[in-house]
């Protein structure tokens, strides 16, 4: 195991994130704060409790997920896309590091950053709403698994992308709609039966509900199902990354 190599990549990525601190922390914090003001306070005051949870608190898990997913994907995809774009990837490819080590470095850094971000958003939320976390350990488990999984997913996107548009396409065109339609702002039980069924095909529904269960002990789907869905997605991402490195897809062509 080339641990010095992993450390080099990890520290390099963390340094890059430090340089873009404003953009990577401030903007999700600001947008989350806006959601709380508009949905939590302004509109939320006219909403009844959902599953016995005040509306302002109800949207917290979904808002954290929204930032976590988009930031994990954009950080990790950018982290591997940039060296491809500037050509500095040559050094990583010519170094005695295995693909597991490369992934540990890049994805580890992206995950770390997402976790920091998640913590900051939770603290921000605390300024607006009072909330208790019923299952704190599970909350952390969901937070870590989600950050990791979507950082892996972002890594795949970064390798696949051959232009900046593609890099932004997935977070913007897929993740954001899925999160909004995944029950961030509502319980899917509030939907007509047909749309409830459709929602069950949205993987983000499971993420948000698992996370919400950890917070409040209530959710639309069983937390076991949520956990299983995340693990399936995690495994799929690992499989794809394994294949990418085995074939050299878009890296060692």
């Amino acid at each position: 195991m080339n641990l010095y190599g992993v450390r080099a990549i990890y520290l390099f990525e963390m340094a890059r994130m430090k340089r873009t601190l404003m953009q990577s922390v401030a903007s999700p914090v600001i947008s989350t704060a806006l959601y709380f003001i508009v949905f939590g306070s302004a509109i939320g005051n006219h909403m009844g409790d959902i599953h016995g949870v005040s509306y302002g608190a109800f949207i917290i898990p979904g808002l954290v997920m929204l930032s976590l997913l988009t930031q994990s994907i954009s950080n990790a995809s950018f982290g591997i896309y940039m060296p491809k774009f500037t050509g500095t990837i040559y050094e990583v490819l010519s170094a005695p590091v295995s693909y597991v080590e490369i992934v540990m470095g890049y994805v580890g850094a992206a995950t770390t950053k997402s976790l920091i971000l998640g913590a900051i958003i939770l603290l921000t939320a605390r300024l607006f709403v009072d909330y208790q976390i019923v299952h704190p350990i599970w909350m952390v488990v969901f937070l870590v698994l989600t950050s990791l999984t979507f950082s892996l997913f972002g890594f795949i996107i970064g390798i696949w992308a051959d232009g900046f548009e593609k890099l932004q396409l997935v977070p913007l065109m897929i993740i954001t709609p899925l999160v909004f339609l995944g029950g961030t702002f509502y319980s899917i039980q509030m939907l007509p039966p047909f749309w409830q069924t459709v929602s069950l095909f949205n993987p983000v529904v499971y993420l948000i509900n698992g996370f919400r269960w950890a917070f409040f002990g209530v959710s639309d789907v069983h937390m076991g199902v949520s956990l299983a869905m995340i693990l399936i997605f995690l495994t799929a991402c690992l499989g794809i990354i394994g294949w990418i490195f085995k074939t050299g897809y878009r890296l060692r062509s």
Binding site: A8, L11, F12, T86, G87, S94, A95, P96, V97, S253
Partner: protein
């Protein structure tokens, strides 16, 4: 002795279907400076990239110090430092951090004093805290070298190291390369400048259209193929060559004011003496004379025109 790098039947067909390397076999010896000489697009960068593990070969194999570069990539790659043709750098990183990064990436424990000495040697020490984007082109080139040397490689690849580099830096670079060789580092450089190969290399390989068409000791190459030219400035111009001087190796130039004799020092050691005696007998006087040894360039042009005619 086992070759330091051994390339066997290496081929590369790019995804578009273009064959960049065709059955290349090549041995590089421990501690030599090997120049890979070839025109643009010959496949030099492709060959280096495969040896270093940056791209996958279509077929064939490479071993580095006896380690297969696919199955034992860790041992193979940790021996190699690469200075690529393109100046690709992380614009926002500092000089110090990027060199430290390179060393870590290659699995070496931190050694600030080592990095300091490399940066000093390459006159980058004063710039250690600068962002890379603030460096000049020549400094960036040196930085790439610093990165390649940061993990103390036993093999150094320099892919067209002097492209866009001024005379001063070029001199420093060659000095450094010779110093490295003295420490036993094997050096492979690619170039399409013949003078560079001629000046630096112990051995020269010529690559053309993805095929190695010649590998030879530089000295042997020069004498084997090297031709000399003797130019005599005649006192009285000749209208035509006298019968006694009619041969393939003599010609007139400059409206008959100059007599040119091309000869092979190996094949006709007494050629010059014979010629001068004949001139004396014929009463042809000359005011001055120069000899010129043909350069690798002449050899190279000859090879590229008539490949595989070497004997």
């Amino acid at each position: 002795m086992q070759p330091h790098i051994s390339v066997r039947n290496l081929s590369k067909v790019y995804s578009g279907g273009f064959t960049a390397l065709n059955q290349v076999s090549l041995d590089i010896h421990q501690g030599e400076i090997f120049a890979l000489l070839g025109p643009n697009g010959a496949g030099k960068t492709t060959l280096i990239s495969i040896i270093c593990g940056i791209i996958n070969a279509t077929s064939g194999s490479v071993s580095v110090a006896g380690f297969d570069n696919v199955n034992n990539y860790r041992q193979a790659r940790s021996q190699i430092g690469l200075v690529p043709q393109e100046l690709s750098t992380d614009a926002f990183e500092s000089v110090w951090n990027t060199v430290t990064f390179s060393r870590g990436l290659f699995g070496k424990p931190p050694a600030p004093d080592k990095i300091e000495s490399i940066l000093r040697q390459l006159s980058l020490w004063d710039k250690r805290n600068n962002r890379i984007m603030t460096l000049s082109g020549g400094m960036k080139r040196r930085l790439m070298i610093a990165k390649a040397l940061s993990h103390e490689p036993r093999i150094l690849f320099l892919d067209e190291p002097t492209a866009g580099v001024d005379v001063e830096l070029r001199k420093d670079m060659w000095e450094m390369v010779r110093g490295l060789r003295e420490q036993g580092v094997t050096i492979i450089l690619t170039t399409h400048y013949i003078e560079e190969a001629e000046e630096m290399a112990d051995r020269i390989g010529v690559i053309r259209k993805g095929e190695i068409i010649l590998v030879e000791d530089k000295a042997a190459l020069m004498t084997q193929l090297g031709r000399k030219e003797l130019r005599l400035q005649l006192l009285k111009p000749l209208d035509a060559l006298p019968d006694a001087l009619r041969s393939g190796s003599l010609s007139l130039a400059n409206n008959g004011a100059e007599l040119i004799y091309t000869f092979d020092t190996q094949k006709s050691p007494s050629g010059v003496a014979d010629l001068l005696r004949t001139l004396g007998e014929l009463g042809i006087g000359f005011g001055d004379l120069q000899t010129r040894e043909s350069s690798l360039e002449d050899i190279f042009v000859g090879l590229v025109k008539h490949p595989k005619t070497t004997d």
